[in-house]
């Protein structure tokens, strides 16, 4: 049998027993008062029994005690005794006064009790709501918190099961929390109650809804109650509660708890949505800023060599000019050199997009560092002009396992980067050391260096070391990102640190070529 029904029956029996008991005790008291003590009319003592019953079990028990007291007094103490006949008409007045007084006192006591009970319920409701809002306020993810809320509602309201379903983009509800645990969530029942909420102060009311065509399911004797979760005029889901049919409609406090919880969930979902939108907008803004910064620096870097090329071409093509052979050659050289420079810029940008797409494949082979480095230094000649380049490439350095094209690009970028950011007269050093199964190639300079905080970000795409206000350092933030991408594609590692020369040092670690391959190649 249902636990709830058992509890209600036990309560009825208890209230009857208490009323009867108190009447018997009071009857004894009246007997003593009117007998040995000699009080002429002690009928008002029955009001005691009325108060006790009303306070403990409400109006019905109070009225019952009043009627019982009336009858008992008539039967036991009014002449003729042991009949319900009243001999003296004056006694009628006493009896009627007892009955009326009993009913009034009983009503008052019961009202007091109801108020006390309501206060307890309100306190309980407030506590439950506080728990719900605290759970939402401290949430890290919505899904986890919904289970907590369902548990709170189940604990605080007279319900047998609570579950919460959310809809996404007008789809069907997905149950995200259910106090039923492993039991399957009840399917939408053919008939359930929906809380219809009124604007203003009008209390909400439960309305039965019948859905034809939906199969009847769920436990017999239970009725599902649904509170729609909405925010900003959109339905976001439902808060469902299963309740015993015999317990009747949920009371005011329970209804308020369900409605307020649904409102708070709705507001929290709305907050989450707005926060998500704000985040998405911020990401879009940042990526826009990044794109325009890139466009700005790429266009600067591409336009500068183009300006040189157009100026040189303008000189050669000018029909009004008498140009010496030396001037003509110098301008043609400039065109060639700047075209090569442009080509390297474009290669870097293409490499970067290939690195991003993961489409980079290194063709590894044993390489002697000096054979890679020498042609680069020769090619860069002009760009390094004015800087002292020291090279320390000992003969004993073993060959590295690397891709010749990639390694060329890595060394070119490192030297160009150094030349670009150090003033004329500064020293640049290129050095190789071997050990621990790898060769370390270091390019360092005596330039202004990079603040320690910027070192870890140096290889990030489009990252530019912040410079003093008003200064402008052209650069795309691409060169070093490509260095890292290409080095890692060759199973190497790259790192930046402060150089003992005073400026920036960049270490590129590459694996030493396996001896067998090296020997075989040397032999072949």
């Amino acid at each position: 049998m249902d636990l709830r029904r058992v509890r209600a029956q036990r309560r009825t029996v208890l209230s009857l027993a208490l009323t009867a008991g108190s009447l018997i005790v009071v009857s004894g008291l009246v007997a003593v008062l009117e007998g040995p003590i000699g009080v002429p009319n002690a009928s008002s003592a029955y009001l005691l029994a009325v108060m006790v019953s009303a306070m403990a079990f409400g109006t019905v028990a109070g009225v019952l005690a009043a009627v019982g007291g009336f009858l008992l007094y008539d039967f036991l103490f009014v002449q003729p005794l042991y009949t319900f006949t009243v001999g003296d008409p004056g006694e009628w007045l006493n009896l009627v006064l007892l009955l009326v007084g009993g009913i009034v006192v009983g009503q008052l006591a019961a009202a007091q009790r109801a108020r006390a009970q309501a206060a307890v319920e309100r306190e309980r409701e407030a506590r439950a709501l506080f728990q719900v809002s605290r759970a939402l306020a401290t949430r890290s993810a919505m899904t986890g918190v919904l289970g907590e809320i369902a548990a709170i509602i189940l604990r605080e309201a007279d319900l047998s099961r609570v579950w919460i379903g959310l809809t996404r983009a007008a789809g069907p509800e997905r149950i995200l929390a259910d106090t039923g645990g492993s039991e399957t969530t009840p399917a939408p029942t053919a008939s359930h109650a929906v809380l219809r909420r009124m604007p203003g102060e009008t209390p909400a009311e439960w309305v039965r809804v019948h859905q034809p065509g939906v199969r009847r399911s769920g436990a017999v004797g239970l009725l599902a109650h649904r509170v729609v979760i909405e925010a900003g005029g959109r339905t976001l889901g439902s808060l469902w509660a299963l309740r015993d049919r015999s317990a009747g409609q949920p009371g005011r406090p329970e209804t308020r708890l369900l409605a307020a919880s649904a409102d708070q969930i709705g507001q929290a979902l709305e907050q989450d949505r707005l926060a998500e939108e704000a985040r998405a907008a911020e990401i879009a803004r940042q990526s826009d800023a990044l794109k325009s910064a890139l466009l700005e620096s790429v266009s600067h870097d591409l336009r500068t060599p183009l300006a040189t090329i157009r100026a040189a071409a303008g000189t050669i093509l000018d029909r009004h000019l008498q140009i010496s052979d030396d001037d003509r050659r110098a301008s043609a050289d400039a065109i060639d050199r700047e075209a090569e420079h442009l080509n390297r810029l474009v290669t870097n940008l293409l490499d970067l997009s290939r690195i991003e797409a993961g489409a980079l494949r290194a063709d590894l082979e044993p390489l002697d560092l000096d054979e890679v480095v020498d042609p680069i230094v020769e090619r860069l000649g002009d760009r390094l002009a004015g800087r002292t380049l020291t090279m320390e490439l000992p003969r004993a350095i073993p060959p590295v396992l690397a891709d010749p094209v990639f390694l060329d690009q890595v060394v070119t970028n490192l030297l160009e980067n150094a030349a670009k950011y150090v003033p004329a007269g500064a020293a640049i050093r290129l050095r190789a050391t071997a050990g621990d199964g790898k060769v370390r190639l270091t390019v360092e300079d005596s330039g202004p260096g990079v603040p320690a905080a910027a070192l870890p970000r140096l290889f990030e795409k489009f990252y530019r070391v912040p410079s003093a206000p008003g200064r402008s350092r052209p650069g795309t933030g691409v060169g070093l990102a490509v260095v890292r991408g290409l080095t890692e594609a060759m199973n190497g590692r790259v790192a930046a640190r402060q150089s003992e020369l005073g400026g920036l040092a960049i270490d590129v670690d590459l694996p030493i070529a396996p001896a067998v391959v090296a020997v075989a190649l040397a032999g072949g």
Binding site: E296, G314, S324, E338
Partner: protein, 242 residues
């Protein structure tokens, strides 16, 4: 000097550009076209060159390694109205507007064609000769002719050799025919702010100028061309209507 032209003949251009290759190529082209070219790679060097050479035109890249190139514009505008052309790879409207607001005269976006650059330099020189100049940038006042494009002064059709300071003094005076030009203004425009109060430079320069002009013109019509306003400055005689 690789140019076949006389490097001292034409107007002086200060070329401020941090990219050595661009500086070299643009400089070569300008020299071949007869300009005197002074090159600078950063703001500090540009300001030094400005003080020493007092160029007729400034070509200025904005992205310089030590400071923003606009600092050069601000400094030059405190002293003179020398034409400033911005050469920049930054193409945004806001950058252009800011440079022009600060006092730059024109804006060329890289990569530019040399023909366009020459046209803009000539236009700037013509404008700097003042409203008295004709469309060829030549100012005439009686027997005197100042050709700002060719950087030549002629008296009765014959070229007169002037020092850069004499040339500029004459140019400033000719640009304001009939109007008073104070000594302070001449000092600032021709020598620079640092010479404030050194009025003797102006006396010497003007007297040299008068002598050279008088010498070149035996008719004596130029003797009272430059009128002294005692204690204030000079005024050049307004040309007679032709």
């Amino acid at each position: 000097m690789t140019s076949s032209h006389n490097p001292e003949a034409g107007p002086t251009i200060l070329l401020v550009e941090d990219d050595p290759a661009t500086r070299e190529e643009v400089g070569r082209n300008l020299r071949l076209h007869g300009y005197r070219v002074v090159e600078a790679g950063d703001v500090a060097e540009a300001l030094r060159c400005w003080e020493i050479h007092r160029p007729d035109v400034v070509l200025l890249d904005l992205g310089l390694p030590d400071r923003d190139g606009l600092a050069v514009v601000t400094r030059i505008r405190r002293e003179a109205s020398t034409p400033i052309l911005i050469l920049s790879a930054r193409g945004e409207e806001a950058t252009k507007v800011e440079a022009l607001e600060r006092g730059a005269d024109d804006y060329v976006t890289k990569p530019f064609g040399m023909a366009e650059l020459h046209a803009r330099i000539r236009a700037a020189l013509r404008r700097s000769a003042g409203p008295a100049a004709d469309e060829g940038g030549v100012v005439r006042n009686g027997a005197v002719e100042l050709d700002s494009l060719a950087h030549v002064v002629r008296v009765a059709g014959q070229p007169v050799t002037l020092t850069p300071h004499e040339f500029q003094t004459l140019a400033v005076l000719l640009a304001h025919p009939g109007r008073l030009v104070t000594r302070g203004r001449l000092l600032r425009a021709v020598w620079g702010e640092a010479y404030q109060g050194e009025d003797q430079y102006v006396y010497v320069q003007v007297s040299q100028l008068r002598k050279k002009l008088a010498l070149a013109d035996p008719s004596g019509s130029l003797r009272d061309l430059i009128v002294t306003e005692p204690g204030v400055g000079y005024r050049i005689r307004a040309p007679e209507p032709t």
